[in-house]
Symmetry: C2
Subunit: 331 residues, 2 copies
């Protein structure tokens, strides 16, 4: 049987479970040119929250009545497609369901002997690509830069920070709680890690970067973005990758009050969408696979079992109750 999560209504604020229609149906049949994929993992990302909203964004919103969009990885169970064979592992936009039928567009094969499956949704997937192109192409880091990363224990932030470290930067992470902070320093090699939940965050940041920052990689927005803006050095680059603190806001998004720091410091704030770098994904994946092999880059996943846990697990993106990449295992 195929369990499917369909977007029934658009959330307002933190998504409630009643926005989903959970549907169970027979495993679908395929037609000529199609493939049946049995999902192993579903990627849970903050971006999903954005796709639930109506209106223009960098990608079409999910229509009401459609399967919720999500990146997935699975095995081909049936194929009437020239390129994909039964037994192939493939990854694409399969959605929140156990089985997907696709004409193959936007899907590609992966080799499970080279890396564990979850890694293809994490550091070797969209997540890793976002970190890689964000920190290197938008952040334009070079050795000696002081790099601040929010959401630093998250999927993208943890990779971006590690890349900045191996490029010779001083890297400061902001994360939620002492455990994550300790982890960033002890296991991922960050130079400093600050707990945004701490009352002393303002002073902690001041002490961690007495001369300010050259790059801020922002996944969080809100007060953290505003705080970081007070630390910009001249010609600093602010990478707007996400704003998870704002995605469930019921009021107008909090804009950065300190944006005039961009003027004072001749700094740049630039948004990014990873899809723009699609023609270079392979280059990035090969590079990062090399760093993983050499032990310079650690891949981290929080894996939760069972498609029925989709809703509660998804909310962990917003409570921060996870580390690294969040995945749903559905096999």
């Amino acid at each position: 049987m195929n369990t499917i999560y369909i977007l029934k209504k658009r959330p307002f604020g933190i998504p409630e479970a009643d926005i989903w229609k959970r549907q169970t149906e027979a495993v679908p049949q395929i037609s000529d040119g199609e493939v049946l994929v049995k999902h192993h993992y579903i990627s849970l990302d903050p971006a999903i929250r954005g796709w639930m909203n109506e209106g223009k964004s960098y990608i079409e919103p999910v229509n009401l009545g459609d399967v919720m969009r999500a990146g997935t990885i699975g095995i081909v169970e049936a194929s009437k497609h020239a390129h994909f064979k039964v037994g192939d592992y493939i990854t694409g936009w399969g959605g929140v369901q156990n089985y997907a039928v696709t004409n193959g567009k936007g899907w590609h094969k992966i080799d499970p002997s080279l890396a564990p499956l979850p890694m293809y949704l994490g550091v070797l997937g969209m997540t890793g690509m976002t970190a890689y192109f964000g920190i290197l192409e938008v952040g334009k880091i070079s050795a000696g830069d002081v790099v601040l990363i929010s959401g630093a224990a998250g999927a993208v932030g943890s990779v971006a920070g590690q890349i900045a470290k191996l490029k010779g930067c001083t890297v400061i992470g902001i994360a939620g709680g002492p455990d994550k902070c300790r982890h960033l320093i002890e296991n991922l090699g960050f130079d400093a890690a600050l707990d945004y939940k701490s009352d002393t965050i303002v002073n902690d940041l001041k002490q961690a970067c007495p001369k300010g920052i050259d790059v801020f990689f922002d996944n969080v927005g809100g007060e953290i973005l505003d705080l970081a803006l007070t630390k910009l050095r001249r010609h600093a680059r602010v990478i707007i990758c996400g704003a998870i603190s704002q995605y469930n806001s019921k009021t107008r998004i909090k804009g950065p009050s300190n944006y005039l720091s961009l003027l004072v410091n001749r700094a740049t704030m630039q948004g990014m969408v990873v899809f723009d770098y699609a023609d270079r994904y392979q280059e990035a994946a090969i590079t990062m696979a090399g760093w993983i092999q050499s032990g310079q880059l650690k891949s981290e996943e929080t894996i939760v079992d069972g498609i029925d846990n989709f809703h509660d697990t998804f909310l962990r993106l917003f409570t921060g109750d996870k580390q690294g990449k969040l995945l749903l295992k559905v096999i």
Copy 2:
């Protein structure tokens, strides 16, 4: 006699007249290496409001007890300086006073036979330099771009818009009131001009740029910045030149709630300070003088007579009761 405006206390909100100590004293004497300048014009710029505030910015604040900083132009009345002779016209940071004594640092000669004196503080001075490097270097305009300019009837905005026009862009100005808007179109060649005081501004902007904007040159901040952010096209550039709507704010500055438009549109918001281009001022001045001669660029000034009108005239920057460059004539 020399009338001097000294910053006595820091303003909170709209500056009141009591922040100044108006002082009259004998015309100062000069020592070896110094020059006595008799001011003809004092440049009144929104930036002055920023220099009144305490705290780090792109330039040191004016200290309490000091003459208020301002760009000036005047004639050398006495000189014990090798480079500047009596009768030379020179421009520099003379401050709000009738006479300045300087060692010549930061001052340079201008030729009053080539252009009227006010123009050297306007389109051929900091104002023009800001417009030139902002729109060309930060905005990176090219023919066909749709360029939106706030504070478009102001000193910087009116020049930036005209430069964009002569580079082949479609230029939309935002200004206060129907007279200024008509002027932008009829006299300065803007393609469209929108009155931010109008109830229909949101819709007016929509109609003026149905396909959005490639460049936004912002002198205003606040709600206008937020509105402009909703119109960004992919890879748009937002130039943060100023934020006059926020300079007198008694509360926290209004940050741009729609800043995530930078992400959606892979756009860039970049601050600028004209001083960074000092080594290219001459290039810009020569270029712009050429445009003025060919009639492609119009220089506009609002000139108010008398140093005693300094305070009230300065406030006209914030009410918008002026057009183009605002100058105080003090001769």
